[in-house]
């Protein structure tokens, strides 16, 4: 079966929309983190599919970089969420209200 470029791009745009929807609606820190991950993976899918239809593979290199960096970012983010959970017994960012004004 032959996939054309537009198929991949449509999937990627769908993933981007899902990610933005998740960020806009959810208030659970872990769900928001996953929404961000979905956006990053949409970009990765974009990069890899463009690289497939281009004569060189620069996009795949960038996708590898971006996967590795996203992993580091998630490690930091989850550790922050764990500290917050120990403090509040909760990961709902709407409940964190020590700062306002």
């Amino acid at each position: 079966m032959n996939n054309t470029l537009i198929d991949f791009v449509i999937v990627s745009i769908t993933l981007l929309s899902i990610g933005i929807y998740g960020l806009a609606v959810k208030r659970n820190a872990i769900r928001m983190l996953f929404a961000i991950e979905i956006i990053i993976n949409a970009a990765n899918l974009n990069l890899i599919s463009f690289a497939r239809f281009l004569p060189h593979s620069g996009g795949q290199t960038l996708a590898l970089f971006s996967i590795a960096i996203a992993a580091a970012e998630v490690a930091v983010g989850l550790s922050l969420i764990i500290v917050a959970y120990r403090m509040y017994q909760n990961v709902d960012i709407a409940e964190f209200r020590s700062l306002k004004g």
């Binding site: 956006i39 620069g58 004004g101």
Partner: protein
């Protein structure tokens, strides 16, 4: 090819080695080492780095926008110098703040690693490098913002900062993927040459990509629709780290924005003036109006830092019409880095001594802590743009450029008017702080001030007054930068 002795590579090597070695020293040593040792090591490394940059700047010729991943050009040098200045001020200001806390080696090491990221953002001319450097800059600061683990507001600020920061990098990588799809390259010079001959049907996609970059960098710069996280993070994070965020990562956002947005504007031949001008007016007005209502000194400075992002954006908005604007932007970036860093380090001193930052509680600070209060006063007056200080000249250039560009579009006059009105408004709340410090409160005795903070205060007073009295060298340097940039773009 980039040579191994070129500025960014050497900076990465010396800062990176020190940044990796500091935590290793603290793990392998059985007995605990004073945090001052780590601070002094990172201070020596940072000072040697800034001396190296200035030496290279003085003795080598540079070109803008090569085919390489990193390009050693004047704009990168300017940002590298200001980032290293901020890192030095933050490190020195942290000495007394971090003394009683655990994991001080990690603290100083993360500052060094984040500084590498900021410097690489300034030098990178390839989107892959830009993204990697952007993350190298951001990830250490997420941890640093939550460094006070036992403190709920520090953790909350770090979590908010992390969520918005991760979103900003996700948007940036999506923008990069679109640009890569259109042009088939990630090198900014190649992207420019493809963009300048782009098909009419591809233009909306290219505009979408540049808009995604504006949004992504806008989160870090604190432009107005993307500024929600900024006051919370600046208030909750350790005050020294707030200095690093406000003066360092924010300016790195502008470095990336100048590289990409301006170039995207010129290559696409599309007029962003209205969009950027509207964002600039909104940013400075909302920042200053919100600042005037705050009771907390840190939060007030955070909102004022949003307002200053608006002033800097004037130069980017008017760039195709007037080169003085971008010159003023660069000048204001280095000025604002020093002024804001000095103000937040002064806040650190206040927190160490009297444990609170409510403006009502700092009555009589001019007698209690004279040098900290003087440093805070000078930096606040410079932020407001009072004539003999450095902030005045950069604001004059920015508003002058807006008037200059007003001959093309008549609405650009409003940028200058909004800027002047906002400066006057900001003087109101800065004046309120100064009045509380000097003219209220009963007679009190002097508190012992921390020596490291006195050192930062004296440096920043000398810098602000010195640049204010004799601004020519920096203005000439920014003129050379703009000349190089226009040569590269034409």
């Amino acid at each position: 090819m980039i040579e191994i002795t070129s500025t960014p590579i050497v900076l990465v090597i010396i800062l990176g080695i020190a940044g990796v070695i500091l935590p290793i020293i603290s793990i392998t040593q059985k007995r605990s080492i004073s945090s001052n040792v780590y601070g002094v090591i990172s201070l020596i490394v940072l000072i040697s780095a800034i001396i190296f940059v200035i030496y290279q700047l003085a003795f080598t010729e540079t070109l803008s926008f090569s085919e390489d991943v990193l390009t050693i050009d004047l704009i990168g040098d300017l940002f590298a110098i200001s980032m290293l200045l901020v890192a030095i001020m933050t490190t020195v200001g942290s000495f007394d703040f971090i003394r009683k806390k655990s994991h001080s080696s990690v603290y100083f090491s993360l500052i060094l690693l984040s500084t590498i990221g900021m410097i690489l953002v300034a030098y990178s001319t390839d989107l892959v490098m830009l993204f990697v450097a952007w993350e190298l800059m951001s990830i250490p600061t997420y941890i640093l913002a939550g460094f006070l683990k036992k403190n709920p507001s520090s953790n909350e600020s770090a979590l908010k900062y992390f969520l918005f920061g991760a979103l900003s990098s996700a948007i940036i990588i999506y923008g990069i993927s679109i640009i890569y799809g259109i042009t088939g390259s990630t090198n900014i010079a190649e992207v420019m040459s493809v963009f300048s001959t782009i098909d009419a049907e591809m233009l909306p996609l290219a505009l979408l990509a540049v808009a995604m970059f504006i949004a992504g960098f806008g989160f870090k710069m604190g432009l107005v629709p993307f500024h929600m996280w900024l006051p919370d993070t600046y208030e909750g994070a350790p005050p020294t780290i707030t200095a690093l965020l406000a003066a360092g990562t924010k300016k790195a956002g502008f470095a990336a924005a100048i590289r990409i947005i301006i170039i995207g504007t010129i290559a696409l031949n599309f007029d962003w003036t209205l969009a950027l001008g509207t964002i600039a007016i909104m940013t400075m007005t909302i920042g200053n109006l919100a600042a005037i209502m705050q009771k907390n000194l840190t939060r007030m400075l955070a909102y004022s830092s949003i307002g200053h992002a608006g002033y800097i954006l004037i130069g980017l908005a008017t760039y195709p019409l007037s080169t003085i604007g971008l010159q003023g932007s660069l000048f204001h970036i280095i000025n604002h880095a020093v002024m804001k860093c000095a103000a937040f380090i002064a806040v650190t001193g206040i927190i160490i001594a009297i444990k609170t930052t409510y403006v009502e509680k700092i009555k009589g600070l001019g007698i209690k802590m004279p040098i900290t209060a003087l440093g805070l006063t000078i930096s606040l007056l410079a932020l407001a743009g009072v004539p003999p200080l450095s902030g005045f000249w950069s604001k004059l250039m920015l508003f002058g450029a807006a008037l200059d560009a007003g001959s093309t579009y008549s609405w650009i006059y409003w940028l200058a008017i909004a800027g002047v009105l906002n400066s006057a408004l900001s003087l109101a709340y800065y004046g309120w702080i100064i009045r509380k410090m000097y003219f209220e409160g009963e007679r009190t005795i002097r508190i012992k001030e921390s020596k490291s903070i006195i050192a930062v205060m004296i440096f920043s007073i000398v810098f602000i007054v010195g640049v204010g009295v004799y601004p020519d060298p920096i203005i000439q340097f920014t003129e050379k930068i703009i000349f190089q940039l226009t040569m590269a773009l034409s």
